[in-house]
């Protein structure tokens, strides 16, 4: 076992454990906080994959914005939060079966793929992946169009969210 593998296994245990808590815990505020733990584990994985910028974005955007937004939404709809009864609907058994089948199917399909157990080559010295990423996002030959479309999507979502959530009383 190398240190990398030990970090990965700890991280995987954190991710899977807290993800299970997200979908099973009764108190929704706790579910949102377990989601923060999951997202933090995923950020560590990005660090392990040498994608430091994505790890940072994961912490800032996912934990800083999205998880906090979830906590706000739970607080604003808090009548259901105090609901101590069951939090799953009546066909949760079928759902669990379907999730297990999905996992089994994915694992089976992936394990029959040739590149399944490939290992990573070291990133050549002197390659700045962050600079490559930045150039790819603004270069007309690469991904400038999806990048701009994403910004329009964010603007539309902002306007839409404000419009939908504004109370129509006044």
């Amino acid at each position: 076992m190398t240190p990398d593998q030990i970090i990965f296994l700890l991280c995987a245990a954190l991710i899977v454990g807290s993800a299970l808590m997200v979908v099973t815990t009764k108190n929704l505020v706790h579910a949102a906080l377990w989601l923060v733990a999951t997202l933090f584990g995923v950020a560590i994985l990005y660090g392990l994959l040498q994608a430091g910028f994505l790890a940072l974005v994961q912490v800032v955007v996912y934990i800083g914005a999205i998880a906090v937004l979830f906590i706000f939404a739970v607080m604003l709809t808090r009548r259901e939060m105090r609901d101590k009864g069951t939090q799953v609907n009546h066909n949760w058994g079928i759902s669990a079966l379907l999730a297990l089948l999905t996992f089994g199917g994915l694992a089976f399909i992936l394990s029959s793929w040739v590149g399944f157990s490939s290992t990573a080559k070291a990133i050549p010295a002197g390659t700045d992946t962050l600079m490559m990423l930045g150039k790819a996002l603004v270069s007309p030959d690469a991904y400038v169009l999806p990048f701009e479309v994403a910004s329009i999507l964010l603007l539309a979502a902002l306007v839409g969210a404000v419009y939908i959530a504004t109370s129509s009383k006044e």
Partner: protein, 102 residues
């Protein structure tokens, strides 16, 4: 880097399945959105792992960033819808929002 690609793929398959269970089984609409977040994160782990183990193209990271943007937009609109529904119906239980059912 001594971690085989398979570890990342299995982990993200597990995370995706857990998220799928959350989406299908939870009653509360906010909890359903939490499940969707888990699934999006599973996809992102896959994208970044394929970037790292692939052949030098940066596309995996670019896609991951697009997924970040889409997730932020989806959560903003989704939670706005839930809050708006809660204001009118004082419930966020997905089963009770059956106005369009006949």
């Amino acid at each position: 880097m001594s971690i085989p690609l398979s570890w990342y793929l299995i982990l993200s398959a597990a995370l995706f399945s857990i998220g799928l269970f959350g989406v299908l089984a939870r009653k509360n609409a906010v909890a359903i959105l939490l499940g969707i977040e888990l699934m999006l994160n599973a996809v992102n782990i896959n994208l970044v792992a394929f970037w790292r183990y692939g052949s030098g193209s940066i596309a995996g990271q670019v896609f991951a960033i697009i997924v970040f943007a889409v997730a932020a937009a989806e959560v903003a609109v989704g939670l706005a819808l839930i809050i708006s529904v809660y204001r009118r119906r004082t419930t966020v239980i997905a089963d009770e929002l059956d106005l369009l059912k006949w």
